[in-house]
Chain length 164, copies 4
């Protein structure tokens, strides 16, 4: 079983919302578990997409009150860690899709790559290394992003364990 | 939906293992989600009990490698926080059952009570306040413990939110 | 150099405040660094005692705003982790003195003992193991508590490293 | 009193080491406290620079053993949180200087900006927002970087509190 993290900002445009929703649907169609930050915007949209396909979405919440969760999560974890919870999403995922997003998403990309977890970008930060290369592969569509991340997650699977 | 945390040591006697297994079965029979530390001993036994009843057990792992999980978890979260993950189990549960246990269990009791989350003990630490009263109610059997914690969780429900 | 954690509740009686203040003075007189939760009550009193002797008190704050610190800290660390910060105080100390205290203090005792860090109690929780023995030694006076914890910290020193 | 975080990779070239060392010296000359991840490379070099000027360097360590600290720290905090400790450095700093660095540094930049903490870059990631603008100002020399971050930290000071 794969855990795929979908990250992005709590505020997003309707266009990005629809894109994240489609990502959620594709994750669920592939039988993977969606991990996210559990709140609104991209996180909510991805959870909604998962729920439309009868999949499982787990939200890793930053605050101390479960009521900050979005209504489409299957399960939620209340961390009380504020932004330090981003490291948990990175560590718990076999691969991460960054959808659009702000500074929290930027931190998540860094934390995931540091932990050796692959990241695929979708209309997100365009970050180049000193040699001018993108540090993460970029997808153009939701389905493509999910296929890319599952492929990358499969290659890295040995090192990250398996829940079943 | 209720989240019930079951805490206890990673090493335990066969007798305690069977007790925790029964707690897991009762949690699942009541339709609650089991949260635990995800590893062996009491955590494994409770997860096994849940799996026997077709319920859901989520493990909140301390390390950075999912492979430390026990084989009976439905889902696992890889925190990399070491013992600081105990605070997440406390915050994420509507109520906690402490089964036997060592110092980690003691810390979990303190963290839960600090967060306003009720705790029921089962062959666990007998801790008295300065007035000589037990700080947590003690149960004698698995079924009794689960009924007690669900009753207490119900009373405290307003403050801790609800996943659906 | 030793780091001695002093833990206790944010609300305390004037008598306990004076006791914690004396503990802080003794810690500073011995040349140890005081670690605490950085807030009021026992934490503030111990920091005040340290400042009276020209010592160093470091507060590990739970919230996201440095302004919750008490005015007697030499330095403060802003964790944003809420109660999960208790695990940091436990891990960072060579020994801990529990002064009076509530559930947070109880959790700290458990976290420290789990991490192999010695704890001495001063008018705090009286916790017995199944054989009826106190799990931590109890002191009656501030100076005695500091001497006891420095002695215990010295024995455990090999395993916990040294800042200089 | 200002807390200035200096972040960068645990492995670095001799050139970057000398640059970080100079940053440490400048931070200490200005009377600010240096915060860092406490380990080698850029973290060690900045701590060394601070020690040369008689300043204070505090290391926020990721592991559970103080012995991973570099030898130039004044104080160290043992978090046991792995990469989640990056969020503590971000929250605890009035401003951050990113020196060269890898994915951990990238995450730190994101965490700091998310928390509203200014960041200045020195031979580090060149990250542009969708409008093609650098998301952090870039300095060319150590002294310039420290002057820039202290100026930015001063502007943001109201919101981040003050240790003295």
């Amino acid at each position: 079983m794969y855990y795929i993290g979908v990250i992005g900002a709590a505020d997003c445009t309707p266009e990005v919302y629809r894109l994240a929703e489609e990502v959620g649907r594709e994750v669920a169609k592939k039988g993977a578990v969606l991990l996210c930050g559990g709140r609104g915007g991209v996180m909510e949209a991805a959870s909604l997409g998962v729920s439309q396909e009868g999949g499982v979405a787990i939200g890793i919440l930053p605050g101390i009150d479960r009521r900050e969760e979005n209504p489409y999560l299957t399960y939620s974890i209340v961390t009380g860690l504020n932004d330090a919870r981003n490291a948990i999403i990175a560590r718990s995922s076999h691969g991460i899709i960054a959808v659009c997003g702000g500074y929290g998403t930027l931190s998540e990309i860094g934390l995931a790559l540091k932990a050796g977890v692959p990241v695929v970008g979708l209309k997100t930060w365009d970050i180049k290394n000193p040699r001018g290369e993108n540090i993460i592969p970029l997808a153009k569509q939701a389905e493509e992003a999910v296929e890319m991340i599952l492929s990358l997650a499969g290659e890295g699977r040995v090192g990250n364990g398996d829940a079943g």
